[in-house]
Each structure stands twice: as C-alpha cells, then as structure tokens.
Symmetry: C2
Subunit: 509 residues, 2 copies
C-alpha cells in the first residue's frame, strides 16, 4: 500500500521513506558534544529550576528533554515546563522519551505557543489527543526507543537542556534510580540525553552524601543539581506487581503462543527472550517458565522493560541475566538494586540500529502486542481505530527488527473492533519484521517465513493465512468504516533508522 507520504513535510523537512531496514545511506557520524570546564570545588547545586533556566539562558526555539521512568507519576516535566511558560519562552520542542496523561499541562503550552514541537517514543492521554486534533504547530515526531537514542546521538535531535528526574542523586550529579522515595529502577531512556545534551540538569528529591552509589549517570556529564520537594508520585511510578492475566481468552492465546515457540526450534540452551508487561505477555512468560523447567532448558538473557515475573525466572536460574531498560514493578526495582546479573541497558544498547551491536539484534524471541495488523503483517501500535494517537512504537519496531522470531499476541477483536484490517491506520512496525500472529481463534504465519511454515507443518501445529484469519474476524465484526482525516499531517511515525514509516493526519470529528 502506498502510505501517501509526501517528500517534504512542513515543520519536519525532507522525508526519506522507510525501505531497506538496514539502509547504509542513513548512517551519520555521531554528533560532537559541547565540552565544559569547571574549576575545582565548583558548586553544581542551585536553589530552583527557575535559577537553572536563567543560568542556562534557554532561548525561544530550544529543545528540552525528559525521560519517562517515573511514568504516569512524573512531576519533573510539569515543574520544568511551567517555569519555561512563566519565562515567556516560545517555540520550545519537548523531546520526552514518553508522554503520559500526567503531562496534561502540555496541552495549555501547545495552545499558547510555548510548545510547538514534540519528539517522543510514546504518547497517550490529553497531549496525544491535542496532537491528533492538529493543535501542535509542527508535526509531532514519534520515534522508537532505539531510534530516539540514535536521533540524539546523530545530532538530528539536538538537546539544549536535558532535565533528568533523579530518584537518587548527590551534590555533584551522580544519579541512580534505585534509592530515594521515587525509586523507579533502571534509567535506560535517559542515557543518550545525559551524554549529548548541551546542558544536563539533575532534578531530585533525595540528595545523599557524596558519592552516591550505584551510579547509572555520572557527574562528568551533569552540570546542575536542583532539589525539589517531590519528583513524582510513587503510585504512578511503578505498580506493586504486574500480573498474569486471568481472562480465559488471554490464557488460550498464551498457551497457543507457547506451542508456536516450541515449534520454532529456537528454544535451545542459551536462547534469549523478551516480552511485555501486559497480562497476556506475562501469561506467555508463565507458559515458558513451565516449559523450560519440564524440558530442562536454560536461557541466556531476557531484555526490555522488566517485571517481577521475569525477575523470578532469573532468580530461579532459568535465565543467566536480565538486560533492563526500565523496571515495570517494585520487584524489578528490588532486583535491579540487588542482583549483579540484572544489568542496566541504555536505549542505545537496547535498540539503536546504528552502533556496534544492540541487544535486540541478538534476541531470539520477542512477544509483542498490536492494535491493528494488516494483510502484509504491518503493525499499528500508534493510533487507535478512531485515528487518534494512543501510543507509539516504544521498543516495538526495534525488537521486531532484531528478533529471530517476532510473535504478535492479541485478541482477534475487542468491542467489535477488529485486529486485522486491509490497511493499518498507521504503520508503526513493518510487516517484514513480524513473523506470527497468535489470536484466540487462530494463528497466522507470515508467508515470508516459509521455514517456520515448514516447521509448523512438521509439528502438526495448526495455522492459517492472515486472509483466512481476517475472514474469521470479519464474520463477527463486519468491515469497520475507514477513519476520516483531512490533509494536515499532525505527526510522523519515524522508523528506528530515521526514515519515515508513515504520517498521521488530522482526524475529522
């Protein structure tokens, strides 16, 4: 399908369409970094965010960055952006690794011209809604987690000032995410910001005696430290525990997924695995745990956002190590603090295609969700079926590109909205990186993977074509009306290498 992507987009620039997934023409040298010099005994502590902003001398048109490890409990983006609003700055680009409902303040800043650009790997809630309605001046750029690190490192996203929420911090700006009242675990999405921004500001509510340890971000890249009352609401930061689904439909999908994994031939000693924090994804992990114990197979690593369920598998000895870019629950935070084989992983190490080898490149199996899938196995996790932005790739496109086996697990429809469509509303993850779709009413295999099809036949594992699966679905839901959009491009779905996989247009209500 022609995604109807123009060659030039106002407020974005020239467009290179996503083609070859490993396109050398897109490689750039990494950006240089401005160096600074402070004399011995230099004091980095400042009284307030306002004082830092004045000292940095932030200008109209600047790009400021934030990480999302405090998730929907984050106070830092709001604290900084409301100071920026007070200063009367205009035309600011917010490069936040993700944007959540708690960041609703941005809607006002979009409407009053303080913020005219957004670059992020995921957004949901009122800000995503405002962008979908065309209220942001420039198109929002939706990146992958690995692509965001790449974009920063290659200078496409030049950050004037990075504001790093720091659960644990000392007076010289050594930072971790495992101490303090806002402990959130790994800080993988903040590393590129800390290493490439012109100025780096640690914002903390917990200054410990120097030196803080462990140190995930170190003082040699941090310029200012500000103590505030609270950087986040623990209730929104991590859930107590993430849970395996109890829904029988979800359990059926997980059980069928396990059969796919077993038939794939990849479950050998030392295999690697990634799954999400959702109920079905965790149910797959549970199935896998049982299978590994029964078959006495041990894996090498699990990567990604890490949950207590995965920690438990590692602590039982089923996996040698965890590569953690963000902790999803308190058990994961606890393990990240205690276990030497629970390893930090920057977004660069996780999924940047332009380095000497990211972790996703070595992944055997990834289990992912989807909002929509089309007949070419293209996946949408960016927009809802109403055309509004409600997510973004995060690590979806990164892991799909790297893993030997990418399995989408999803119900075939929910509330009469079908999973499988002729065309996805937004192309987030290219179909050639997606291998199998498992639903409660059948499993479809990408015809590009004849090797898998052969394996499934050999093991008598039932599967169908995606067209057949769509027919099953259509009997229940009918064909939904297409989303009505006008010409205005409100956001760009950028593939991990910096090319454009799709554009998102303004929804007509």
């Amino acid at each position: 399908m022609d995604r109807n992507i123009p060659d030039f987009i106002e407020g974005y620039g020239e467009v290179k369409r996503t083609g070859n997934l490993f396109d050398r023409a897109l490689l750039k040298e990494t950006a240089g970094r401005n160096v600074r010099m402070y004399e011995p005994g230099h004091n980095k502590m400042r009284e307030s965010i306002a004082e830092v902003l004045r000292e940095i001398d932030l200008k109209d048109g600047a790009t400021v960055s934030f990480h999302h490890h405090l998730r929907n409990g984050d106070f830092v983006l709001n604290l900084v952006m409301s100071e920026i609003e007070k200063m009367g700055l205009k035309d600011i680009t917010v490069a936040a690794s993700s944007i959540f409902p708690c960041h609703e303040i941005l809607v006002r800043l979009i409407d009053n011209g303080t913020v005219t650009g957004i670059k992020t790997a995921y957004m949901s809630g009122p800000v995503a809604c405002a962008v979908s309605e065309g209220r942001l001046k420039n198109p929002a750029v939706l990146m992958t987690h690995g692509g965001r690190a790449r974009s920063i490192m290659e200078g496409e996203t030049h950050i004037d000032a990075a504001f790093i929420a720091a659960p644990g911090c000392d007076r010289l700006g050594n930072i971790n995410g495992v101490t303090g009242k806002a402990a959130c675990g790994a800080l993988g999405y903040a590393i590129a910001d800390a290493e490439y921004a012109d100025k780096v500001v640690a914002i903390t509510d917990d200054i410990v005696d120097y030196p803080l340890y462990p140190q995930e971000i170190k003082q040699n890249v941090v310029d200012y430290v500000v103590k505030v009352d609270s950087i986040g609401d623990p209730k929104g930061i991590v859930s107590g525990t993430t849970q395996v689904t109890k829904d029988p439909v979800g359990l059926k999908i997980a059980s069928d997924t396990m059969k796919v994994l077993a038939a794939s031939g990849l479950l050998k000693e030392g295999f690697s695995f990634q799954t999400g924090a959702g109920g079905i994804s965790l149910a797959v992990a549970k199935e896998l745990e049982t299978w590994m114990k029964k078959n006495e197979i041990k894996g090498s690593f699990v990567s990604g956002g890490i949950t207590g369920y995965i920690v438990n598998m590692m602590e039982e000895g089923l996996f040698k190590a965890l590569y953690d870019v963000q902790c999803f629950d308190l058990e994961a935070v606890r393990s990240y603090r205690e276990n030497r084989n629970h390893l930090p992983m920057s977004a660069d190490l996780y999924g940047n295609p332009h380095n000497s080898g990211c972790v996703t490149n070595d992944l055997d199996i990834v289990i992912l969700g989807a909002t929509e899938v089309d007949l070419n196995f293209n996946v949408n996790v960016t927009t809802g079926s109403d055309g509004r932005i409600m997510g973004g790739s995060g690590g979806h496109a990164d892991t799909a590109a790297g893993a030997k086996l990418t399995v989408i697990v999803s119900k075939l429809f929910s509330a009469r909205t079908p999973l499988i469509k002729d065309h996805v509303t937004t192309l987030t993850t290219p179909g050639k990186t997606v291998d199998v779709i498992v639903t409660e009413r059948g499993t479809a295999v990408n015809p590009l993977r004849q090797d898998l099809i052969e394996q499934f036949k050999k093991k008598n594992l039932p599967f169908m074509t995606i067209e057949e699966l769509k027919e099953v679905s259509d009997r229940f839901t009918g064909t939904p009306n297409p989303v009505k959009t006008d010409d205005k491009i409100v956001a760009i779905s950028q593939y991990r290498d910096g090319s454009v996989s799709d554009v998102i247009r303004k929804v007509i209500k």
Copy 2:
C-alpha cells in the same frame, strides 16, 4: 624560567604553552564518532589478529591504541604490533595509555619505520630509552591520564583502531577486568578508546557464555572479538600485595606528612583522599588510618589507582567509597569484583579538565612523589636527572591541579642525586598546583599558600622555605652538572588541557 619551547615543532605542530590552568581558549567540541551498523545475528568473532587487521584495512599512518591495565605483563600490544610489522605497514602512531619494559618490541619497530609516533601518559624501559636517544621519527607526546582521555574525546588523538586487552569477554564484546586468568581489575584507561575509536577490537583469552557480567565496556561499542592463547603474564599484571615501606627514612617522611595533613584543616568528616602505591605513600595511608580511628573521622572517597591497603580502610568503614581507575594488587581486584562501593572510574571521570566535573576536581588531599622539584615548586616525574625519559605524568598533574592540598613526599636526595634543583629537567606538573614538599630533613610550603603557612604557624608545625631546604640538600650533594642535550626535541610534555608544559631534548651521551 623560560622553558625554551618553540612555537612550532616539526612532527607535532603549533604549540600552545601552558599558562592559565583553566584556559577556556583550549576548549573544543568533542569529536563525532563514525557509526556502524550490523544486521541481527552478526558474528564479531575472528580467528586471529591478522584477520581483523586485514578486515579493518589499516593504512600507513594510522593510529592504534592500547591500554596498560596488564602493566608489565601485557602481551596484547606486542601481539598486535608484530602483526602490523608483518603486514609491512609504516608510519604507525602507538597511542598506548602507558608503555612498560615488556613492550621492548617497539624499539625494533621504531628503528625500522613501522612506528613513527608515540602518545602515552607514561613510559619506562627500553622504549623510553630509544625515544630519549632520538630514534623515534616524530616527538613522542607525553600526556596526563586525564589529558589523554580529553585528547581522544576532542579528536586531537584520532584512533583508527583500539585493541582492548579483555580479561573477561563474551562473543559480542562485552568486557570486564575481573574474570579470567589475566584479571586486572578496573579498566578506566580503556574507556575513551572504546568510545571514540573508529574500530574497537576486544582481544581476550577467556570467552565466557553470553552475556558476560559485570560489564565495564559494552557490546554496542565493540566491533571484533579475537581469542588468543594468553593476553598477559599474571606475574607482571598485579603484585600480590603492595606494602608499606619499612625504611625509617620513609616512615619519618610519612609521619611528618601526617602532621601536615592534620594541620591543614582538611581532615573533616567527609574528606577525600588519594595516594599512590609506593611504600612511602602507603605509609602515609597507614598514618592516616590511625589518625582517623583516633579522631573518629570518616572520609567520603579515595580515588586513583587502588591498593589493598586502601581497600582495607574502606572495608573498615573509614571511607564510604573508592573511585578506581586501575587496581594495583590482587586485593584491589578482589574488592572491585565484590564491593558495590568500589566504583569504576574512567580516565575522563578521573582527570579530564574538559567535562562537567572530574573526580580530581573534588579531591581534598593528594599525596604524590617527585623526581625533581624546583624553587617554584614545579615538579618533574618525566625524566631522570640524566635527561632520559623514565616516566611521565600519569595522574600527577591531574590530581595536583584538582586537589585542595597537594603534598609531594620524597627523600631529599638519593645516591647523591638531589630532589631540589634550580630548574627541573622537565616540567611535568606546574608549581602553582603544588602546595607542600615533605622530606626527611624538612618541609617546605609554597609561598602561594599563605593560608597554609598561617595554619602551620598556629599549630607550631616546623617548616622552611624551599630555598632553605635546597641549602640543606646542597650541603650533602653539591650542585649536580646540568644535563647536556642537543637541539632535537624527542618528546613533548603535554599538560592535561592540551597545552605544552615542556619539551624533552635529545641527550648527548
């Protein structure tokens, strides 16, 4: 004194003389890095160093780099350089963090034109001797440890290929120094090389199952992995234990140094400290240990190369943490492997003046040695009194510049060679960064430190001027004959900021 430094040096270029120690005119942006891209499943393992060299396509005139964490037991530099010789490459610059007697092979490579440049922070043995004799085509550049990281990061030293001796390694190039038969501890001097070289090659004798942990250098910067029989001789890598001196003269110096520290007013709760691995330096640590216990004062951190003696003080709770750039003995390696508060420290974090705050900038007290000191407190640790190169700054100039109190501990003369001279043979560390000289026959205080002089008077601590101390010394040794040199510049003593503190001329035998 005019150090007689020309404005332009053939084989080096324009000279900026060391002036202001924090000269903003010398700041540069960091260099960009060439990015690479490998497809999923890419194999980094190669059969031999020769195979890697062919694949990298190294050219005449290239710069190759090495770290010195295997010290005088290192095999890796020799293995790589002999392959480079076999390939017939010419005009190679060796950017090794230090060069030891075990690297004697370089003398042949210098003489046959394979190697025409050397950049290092320290050199001793036959290679230093050959350089002193003017056999290397271009002047060797002697850097500080922090300055070497700066030079690499700012692109002054562009590394075509970094060869990283890797005591522990996995198939994707994750590296540490704490596992394997050549375990050497921290790898602080290899970090800038790994992050900025065009190609990074891990050379190991111990491939472990993926993923290796802990990871000091990660796979996202490593391009090739080669397994060889042995990367080093454990006997030359670390000593069993480093020892406090038993020499009464050394013990007297240590005891008098302790009085200086106590009088300085710096020994307060949370103070920081660095000392070397030599016998007198360790005797100072022992005095300090006793004082801290008696006075119930605890420190924050000890930095630098770390010894078992310092580990013991940390494990007793006298210091909160250690910042370790290299481990000097097996006890330090053991602690670095086990203790979470024994922290890794890159050379950049250690002493680079051009970042957001190096550890030396926050150091209260450093204890250093000296070969010569002049009447302006300038220190030479680069050349012997015969004018031959036998060392280099290492971290000497970095720590002196950063610490609030820099104390030189040394015998006043040894074998009729005096410590104090009218002019140092080579100016390694500028006198304005040196505060006190403690010898067995008296203590001299830099007149720039009137505050210290006042403190010493208040505490009735005896001290003298450096001229007085020189008079004492001259009575024993007489004034030695000046070293005879010709005009040829054989090496450059580069200050940490990239300026030139001195030149070293060819010795006339």
